[in-house]
């Protein structure tokens, strides 16, 4: 029972970070219908940013998101404006490859700049935990889970209550109609990609104290982001939040009962099952 509860709790906590990655991806997909293969690399950039803010300026990783989020927003907007907006009308496979190409450029530039060494961000609380009824809870993960929750709520508020947010949702629902209504669709795309990038960057920052950093770290997370996005219903933020947590739990529990090596298969099978039974995902109907 302790083993089950322990896996459940650590699964939920890790799932919070996964959710953040998934939400970023789902916003990008919802607005542009582009599958962002560079999502993990954006996360990687967030990690490096956090790492250098910590080692050079001694800024705590959890505080550094205040810097990382706007920086990544600008960077994401730049990518959208310079590259992705140019190919929005073209074939979908070109969009996929463009993001793959951008991802390669990002990870390899970072490698050239900072070498391929693993970087470990060690804070005083990196491995601290506390015990509740025999279940250990990692302090940094709990903090990052709380921050994730705050970010998600803020994002909701932004999308539901602000004019820009509503314009983004309108664009996601029907691009052409939105354009006819006088919404600057290209601008909305830039904002959406900026948001996606800043969420990925934030996830990178939050995971840094308990994880490690290297130029190719992104690919694992890109794959996870795909699964989360589809599972939740492409474009659905609630869906991405739930499925992020679901994936965290499935990995954790699957790892215990099927062996650590099979936990990825558990996730992918779950993914395929959902696709087959409910192709639009868990929360498929609601768009962004």
């Amino acid at each position: 029972m302790t083993i089950f509860m322990q896996s459940l709790i650590s699964g939920i906590l890790i799932g919070g970070v996964y959710a953040l990655i998934g939400i970023g991806m789902t916003i990008i997909f919802g607005v542009m219908r582009v599958i962002n293969f560079a999502h993990g690399d954006l996360l990687m950039l967030g990690m490096y940013g956090t790492f250098y803010l910590f080692t050079l300026f001694n800024i705590d990783p959890f505080i550094s998101i205040v810097v990382i989020i706007p920086l990544m927003f600008l960077y994401g907007g730049f990518l959208q404006k310079m590259f992705i907006n140019r190919i929005l009308g073209t074939l979908p496979q070109n969009q996929i490859l463009l993001t793959i190409g951008l991802g390669l450029v990002m990870s390899n530039s970072v490698m050239l700049a900072f070498t391929s060494d693993y970087k470990i961000l060690s804070t005083s609380y990196s491995s601290s935990s506390f015990d509740i009824l025999g279940i250990s809870i990692s302090t940094p993960l709990l903090i990052s889970f709380a921050i994730t929750a705050v970010i998600t709520v803020a994002l909701y508020w932004f999308l539901l209550k602000t004019d820009t947010g509503q314009a983004i949702r309108a664009t996601a629902q029907d691009r052409e109609a939105a354009q006819l209504m006088g919404i600057n669709v290209k601008r909305m795309s830039i904002i959406a990609f900026g948001l996606g990038a800043s969420l990925a960057g934030a996830a990178g920052a939050l995971i840094s104290p308990t994880y490690y950093i290297f130029p190719q770290v992104g690919s694992t997370f890109t794959l996870k982001a795909f699964v989360i996005t589809v599972l939740g219903g492409m474009g659905s933020i609630v869906g991405a939040t739930l499925s992020g947590i679901l994936i965290g739990v499935a990995e954790s529990i699957g790892g215990v009962y099927f062996g650590a090596g099979w936990k990825e298969v558990v996730v992918f099978v779950l993914f395929l099952l959902v696709l087959l039974l409910k192709p639009s995902g868990l929360m498929g109907k609601s768009n962004v």
Binding site: I35, E264, L275, P279
Partner: protein, 354 residues
């Protein structure tokens, strides 16, 4: 897409024939095994690119999980050869059969999905195969991979045709496979089946309403594509002599396959050929730092200068970066691939002349 040679002109046919003959004669003149090695890699790339092209280019189903079929071919042939002493020229057939079976299973699952969902589902299925190959240690040797100790010599009635000790038999096998996939592509392009495929690509719903069964024809396209892809996998496995899940069942490989087609130009017979001819030598040149070296050797850049130092020290680190930049450039400025771009250039020039 217009077929390149629907009514083959005498001249292009002759030119094609000459190229084929020259390719067959090549190993007699080329001593360098390094050159042959690159040629074999190009052949493998053409085979996998062209096979994907049948599904992705002609039928419009962008599978980013084609490493599954490549891996099936590679693993089946290799496992039969290493663990059951079945020679590879028989193993290849089993590999094709396995790939076909896998394709039918994957197809029946994934073709219920469309567009981006299909792309992601194809990735997921391929990942399931990779992780399974990693974990089914008794069957596949897991992460340790399979190392070929030796290949039995090919005999026909007591006379040894080849003992696979040189690159030449692999070269010819690759060349034959290439001709085979090109032939299949050409036949398809001009057949009713090919028209069905293209109809599905252009508009699934319209095709469906015309009575073209989407399930059947998508699966047919995938099956042909998968079987041919497995050939590339089998050849790779036997040629390199070592496989493991992270080389033959990796997402990287699937992306590479798609890249070959997109760079060359999808939905054309020679797109993947051009793609492979561009990508393989390019990545090899970047990897071995030929560009940096030649700049220094030709005296353009001094080896002792800061820039020369940068080239020798860093260019070898930067080759994937350059590769990435190229991908971005091609997608942005040559959306129809190199072949499409060249055509456009030629067309534009002709217009100017007129």
């Amino acid at each position: 897409m217009k077929p390149l040679f629907k009514n083959i002109g005498v001249l292009p046919a002759m030119a094609g024939l000459v190229v084929i003959v020259l390719l067959f004669l090549l190993p007699r003149f080329v001593e360098s095994t390094y050159a042959l090695h690159i040629m074999i890699l190009i052949f493998i790339s053409i085979v996998m690119g062209s096979s994907w092209n049948l599904l992705g280019g002609y039928t419009g189903q962008y599978s980013v999980g084609h490493c599954a079929y490549f891996g099936m071919g590679a693993y089946t042939t290799m496992m039969l050869m290493q663990f059951r002493q079945v020679p590879p020229w028989l193993g290849i057939w089993v590999g094709m059969a396995v790939a076909l079976l896998v394709a039918l299973i994957i197809g029946s699952i994934c073709f219920r999905l469309r567009g981006p969902y299909f792309v992601l589902a194809s990735i997921a299925v391929a990942e399931i195969f990779r992780v399974s190959a990693l974990n089914l240690k008794d069957l596949t040797n897991g992460a340790e991979g399979i190392l070929a100790t030796d290949i039995p010599p090919l005999k026909i009635g007591g006379t040894i045709i080849t003992d696979f000790s040189s690159k030449v038999p692999f070269y010819y096998t690759g060349l034959v496979f290439v001709l085979l996939v090109i032939l299949v592509t050409w036949l398809l392009q001009n057949s009713k089946l090919g028209y069905y495929f293209q109809a599905i690509r252009e508009d699934q719903d319209a095709a469906h309403s015309l009575g073209i069964s989407l399930t059947i024809y998508k699966n047919v396209a995938l099956s042909i594509s998968a079987v041919l892809t497995s050939l590339a996998g089998s050849l790779y496995a036997v040629y390199v002599g070592f496989i493991d899940p992270s080389t033959v069942l990796a997402l990287d490989l699937s992306v590479q396959i798609v890249l070959i087609c997109i760079i060359g130009g999808i939905g054309t017979i020679f797109g993947p050929v051009i793609g492979a001819l561009v990508l393989v030598p390019l990545s090899e040149a970047l990897r071995s730092n030929v560009i940096g070296e030649s700049l220094i050797n030709s005296g353009v850049v001094s080896a002792d200068s800061a820039f020369g130092g940068f080239l020798t020290e860093n260019l070898s680190h930067a080759h994937v970066l350059i590769y990435g930049v190229l991908v971005v450039v091609v997608i942005l400025f040559m959306p129809d691939g190199v072949l499409g771009f060249a055509k456009k250039l030629a067309f534009g020039k002709r217009k100017e002349a007129a």
